[in-house]
């Protein structure tokens, strides 16, 4: 979205004479003022905090990068980071493949009731994470019996979804449920604007539907796929709401350092370790930026090759 648009934006506007050069700022200023207050200032403050340490004796002192060194040697931090990495390596591909397949199915015009499917599958996106997690959490739970009912009815001996071995997969299911339809619509919107003469050319060459999907449709929406992947990766690193809410229902399976975000939160609000927490948040921010950049880079390199 961004690269092409920057080009368009550069072409679109026009220079005005004299003092009018600053007119654009009058429109942009309200956004930028609030932006500086609620986004830039906290980042700067966070970096500042991460360089200090509060001690019982001697008060707050400057410690340089010591908090960062501490975090890199902290097994709890690595444990939480490892968990979200597993999560993103498994959940993100599954969700994006399902979303892509569903968008291709809707775009193929071979479905009955396709607008019903489009809306039904997208609907969970409008459900708050809190409600989504509570619903799935109750359904998973042994107390409300639904999961037990089903395993009994089919004579299965399935593991409990909220046991410590399976809770990450159960969270993956909740997140997939929430966002598969959203990603599907992103892909579908991109598919709709592929010029039809490409299809005509392909069919003249005798390409079948699968060939058309593989050689025309998927390359044509690569930009959308890369953006969806970046947002999903960022979302995985920020995983917080679902495990934090599910913790009430599965207190033994979800620790206070289940994800880096939960660790940073609990360090601050249960442990009062604001400086250490800020360092962990900054590390996560840096990792996220690097990974998002790598995803974007590998995506655009493929575009270059195509």
């Amino acid at each position: 979205m961004t690269t092409t648009s920057i080009v368009t934006a550069r072409r679109g506007p026009f220079m005005r004479r004299g003092g009018a050069r600053w007119t654009g700022w009058l429109f942009l200023a309200p956004f930028m003022i609030v932006f500086l207050l609620v986004l830039v200032a906290p980042v700067v403050y966070s970096i500042y905090l991460s360089l200090f340490r509060e001690q019982l004796i001697g008060g707050t002192s400057f410690v340089g990068l010591e908090n960062y060194a501490l975090a890199l040697g902290d097994p709890k931090f690595w444990d939480s980071l490892g968990r979200v990495v597993i999560f993103l390596l498994v959940q993100v591909p599954i969700m994006l493949v399902i979303a892509l397949a569903a968008s291709l199915a809707i775009d193929s015009a071979r479905l009955h009731l396709s607008s019903f499917f489009r809306i039904a599958i997208f609907l969970p996106y409008a459900v708050p994470a809190v409600v989504a997690t509570l619903m799935w959490g109750f359904m998973y739970g042994t107390r409300f019996g639904l999961f037990g009912n089903i395993t009994d009815a089919f004579g299965l001996d399935l593991p409990a979804p909220l046991s410590s071995n399976w809770v990450l997969a159960s969270i993956g299911n909740i997140v997939t449920w929430e966002f598969v339809g959203y990603n599907m619509l992103i892909f579908y919107a991109a598919l709709r604007v592929i010029p039809t003469d490409l299809y005509e050319a392909a069919s003249l060459d005798g390409a079948g539907a699968f060939r058309t999907v593989w050689s025309i449709k998927i390359p044509a929406i690569r930009g959308a796929i890369v953006i969806a992947a970046i947002f999903s990766v960022i979302g995985s690193f920020q995983l917080f709401n679902e495990p934090n809410i599910l913790k009430t229902l599965a207190p033994n399976a979800i620790s206070t350092y289940f994800t880096p975000n939960m660790y940073a939160y609990n360090l601050s609000f249960s442990g009062q370790q604001f400086n250490y927490s800020a360092a962990i948040a900054i590390i996560m921010g840096l990792i996220t930026v690097v990974i998002a950049y790598v995803v974007q880079l590998s995506g655009s390199r493929k575009v270059g090759r195509a």
Partner: protein, 294 residues
């Protein structure tokens, strides 16, 4: 399709034959999407006792939906209605304000050249990548020093920024507002703000509505921020309130009000789902507008 080598270019006409198998597979996916919502509807008709003792995916026992709704709305002196009102406040001021700021800013980026424009792009894009965790704690500490925690401002101010909305309006405005019209207005001597409110705003309306829908969902569903900012239930939005009810039910000695958690969840999602169904024309065209630019 390999079948018969028939040419089936996607979406290109009424000649494409419908596939029953594809429809069945999609129906499974739709069933997966709707299952928890169905479960929610079924279980909000049950009493606390029936919740534990009857099969979860069908109606049984007493039909207690109305009792549950009345109980949800009146429990604890009607705190649910208070949370509902708070949520509305955050949505109207937060999402409305965010959309307004994003529209003005996106318009500026699309239709004006000004010093520092490239820097704005870089900074806003960079900020999108910074995870919420990196911001939440320092934002909380900053706000608590400014005396803003435990006030509606602590929720509203951060909701006012939607980088996604800014980019969407910008992508939309490049084509939706023809530069020639703006030049003509300038030649006629109209001021920039007058031009914006009389001409451009109307042309930007579809983009505006799309951003509004997405910011409404974001603020209606906001959980992390209010959880951190608010320590008293007075200013809770519905999401944090529902979680507090659930936590209360799980605490030893706390009153088990699972039926209220479930009915409250249903009441929380009904307005937003209705809004989505009625306004689907807008969000679907808005998503398309965003993707044209890719």
């Amino acid at each position: 399709m390999p079948r018969g080598g028939r040419l089936a270019p996607a979406g290109t006409g009424p000649t494409t034959r419908k596939s029953v198998w594809l429809t069945i597979i999609m129906a499974l996916l739709a069933g997966y999407a709707l299952l928890p919502l169905f479960w929610l509807v079924v279980n909000s008709t049950k009493t606390q006792r029936d919740l534990f003792s009857t099969f979860g995916l069908w109606f049984s026992g007493d039909f207690a939906l109305w009792d549950n709704i009345v109980q949800t709305l009146t429990y604890d002196d009607g705190v649910f209605l208070r949370w509902f009102g708070n949520t509305l406040l955050y949505v109207v001021v937060g999402a409305g304000g965010a959309t307004f700021l994003a529209t003005l800013g996106g318009y500026a980026l699309a239709k004006f050249d000004f010093p520092g424009k490239r820097a704005v792009f870089a900074v806003v894009l960079g900020a999108v990548a910074v995870p919420g965790a990196a911001l939440a704690v320092p934002t909380f500490l900053m706000f608590s020093q400014m005396g803003l925690t435990n006030t509606p401002w602590s929720i509203i101010l951060p909701s006012l920024i939607s980088p996604f909305g800014l980019f969407l309006v910008w992508a939309f405005a490049v084509d939706a507002v023809p530069t020639e019209i703006l030049e003509a207005a300038r030649i006629d001597g109209a001021g920039e703000f007058r031009t914006f409110f009389t001409i451009s705003a109307r042309l930007l309306a579809p983009g505006f509505v799309t951003v509004l829908l997405f910011t409404i969902v974001a603020t209606w569903n906001n959980y992390f921020l209010p959880l951190i900012m608010l320590s008293e239930s007075t200013w809770y939005p519905l999401t944090v309130g529902l979680n507090a009810w659930n936590a209360q039910a799980a605490t030893a000695g706390g009153e088990a009000i699972y039926n209220l958690v479930i009915t409250g969840s249903l009441l929380t999602i009904v307005p937003i789902i209705v809004a989505f169904l009625f306004l689907q024309r807008y969000w679907q065209s808005g998503l398309a507008a965003g993707s044209v630019k890719q």
